[in-house]
Amino acid sequence: MIKARGLQRRFTSRGRTVDAVKGVDIDVAEGELVGFLGPNGAGKTTTLRMLTTLLTPTAGEAQVAGCDLRADPVGVRGRIGYVAQGGGTGPECKVSEEIELQGRLYGLSKADAIARGKELTEQLDLSGLDQRLTKTLSGGQRRRLDIALGLIHSPKLVFFDEPTTGLDPQSRANLWEHIRTLRSEQGVTMFLTTHYLEEADALCDRILVIDGGEIVAEGTPDALKARVSGDGVVLGVDDDVTDRAAAIVGRVDGAHDLTTLPGEVRFRVPRGDTALPALLRAFDAEGLTMQSVQVQRPTLDDVFLTLTGRSLRDSESTDGATGPDGDTRSDDTTDSGHGNDDGHGGHNDDEKDDDEKDEVPTHVA
């Protein structure tokens, strides 16, 4: 569906040159749901805009949905759907008008556009909103309308740019459900960008991790997580026995990355769940008591940390604190008009809650 080689984009503004995307190779097979994961300003949107013909690559080439990106951009446009980051509906337009217009711009007849629109609005829980102005819809409804518009011509390949940015956790979970359903019912190949780790984890078959305009890793969520060696375990003990506890842990098969703080022992082990019972017995034998145990499955955040040396959330907050770095600025120049930077800060909190779902706290008396 997508085959890109050495796709590259350079921006020059006010005498400064920025390589927003430094030559990426992307392969997406038919029917796949591939996620493009990276912090703000990593080059996700720029890459997506190149693949959707909105931006001409500085170098490189790509086949998208069977058409050559450079030679036949109109062919590409007719075969793909694109759901932009900030949406794309006129606030004073009625839902039905936007749907019909979109269908007809893709060459459908009026009757076909209306019929297909009805099908999609039913699937996306938008029935009965036909006559509403889009400005009166809720954030989640409007995003689902954006998706309906992107799918109106039954494309085989759909691009989503940050589909759930700016939505509350409930709407986000709801949207994920819709994306999964659309995919299983309509067999659409999907390519989405996200800076939410749990989104990539929950939705995608395969993930491309992009940082600083380059793809730094690629694989299934599980394969990527396997790169972080094993589960993280945190033991809580009494302060004065920390050293003795650490000594016991040191004898556990495969335990590594052992660190201690007063009252806390952290280490990694290939299988946290099977290592624990033996560890408990060993503690018993030495007459030590564990106050608490946490086993943490590796998250994509750990993966990002392993790959780039910083956590995804850190690279986000650095952007916010010190102003946009070079890459962020280049993204800004390409999509001035969608002020989504505003939306990000507030959502890191939501994200935190969801991220911890992989954590398995086990309290031992």
Binding site: L54, R104, L105, G107, H338
Partner: protein, 255 residues
């Protein structure tokens, strides 16, 4: 391309009909000129030598219509800036629709709006005031106004897409349009009898002067080559250039 143009035209026209208040607000200014400034002209025109032929109403009404076209069409870019902000432009650009159609559909809506407003003003001048003008001449002037509106709206969209800045855009439009407006002799015609030589010379270089002259000639029923030719040529050339400029800007990547 025609189909896409029609679809975009219909979208913009529907939006416009949903907020007819904007149409009315656009008409307000020329109506005020007509009511509060027109009667003043009546005396001045008869007692001052140097005015072009015709009554004060045949001089003022077409000028006000053209002024209206200048104002409303040059600010058309505002709606495009809003569309850019909402992501509508991007959404339309990713469809296979012709880029030229995306522009033409919009400027045709602007042309239609201006003509509708011009009809209201002309009717008012006709019914309430002492305007007498041949219907053929009025129709011709309406065609001129429609073309002018398409011309300026195209330019306005091109500027808005290039600037992409909701503060800089009106500042630029104002600083360009103010001298153009004054130099086209809209309120008081700039003739050899009224203006000093240097002012007359500058006004002749302003293309809009010739368009205003042609509009006035239409209202007094003067279809002679002398009165119409320059204005028509200027308008056709200007329109071709501006639509080409607009279309090129719409076609350009990242626009």
């Amino acid at each position: 391309m025609l189909r896409d143009t029609w679809l975009i035209f219909r979208r913009d026209a529907t939006l416009l009909s949903r907020n007819p208040a904007w149409l009315a607000i656009g008409v307000m200014q020329p109506v005020l000129y007509l009511v509060l400034f027109g009667p003043l002209m009546e005396r001045i025109v008869t007692s001052t030598p140097g005015f072009p032929p015709g009554s004060s109403w045949t001089i003022l009404t077409p000028a006000l219509i053209i002024q209206l076209a200048l104002f409303s069409a040059t600010t058309a870019g505002f709606s495009l800036l809003a569309d850019l902000r909402n992501g509508v432009v991007e959404r339309l650009r990713v469809t296979p629709a012709s880029r030229v159609a995306l522009l033409l559909g919009k400027v045709l809506t602007n042309g239609l709006t201006t003509v509708a407003q011009a009809v209201i003003i002309t009717m008012l001048a006709f019914l309430v005031f002492d305007l007498s003008a041949p219907i053929g001449g009025i129709l011709l002037t309406l065609v001129i106004v429609a073309m002018l509106s398409v011309t300026l709206a195209s330019a306005s969209y091109a500027v808005a897409l290039t600037l992409r800045n909701e503060e800089a855009f009106p500042a630029l439009v104002n600083s360009v349009m103010m001298p153009v407006l004054l130099l086209s002799g809209i309120l008081v015609p700039i003739t050899t009898g009224l203006a000093p030589d240097w002012l007359y010379a500058i006004s002749r270089v302003n293309p809009f002067t010739h368009i205003v002259d042609a509009g006035r000639a239409g209202f007094r029923g003067d279809f002679s080559v002398d009165a119409m030719l320059t204005g028509s040529i200027v308008l056709v050339v200007l329109m071709s250039l501006c639509v080409f400029w607009g279309a090129r800007t719409f076609r350009r990547e990242n626009a």
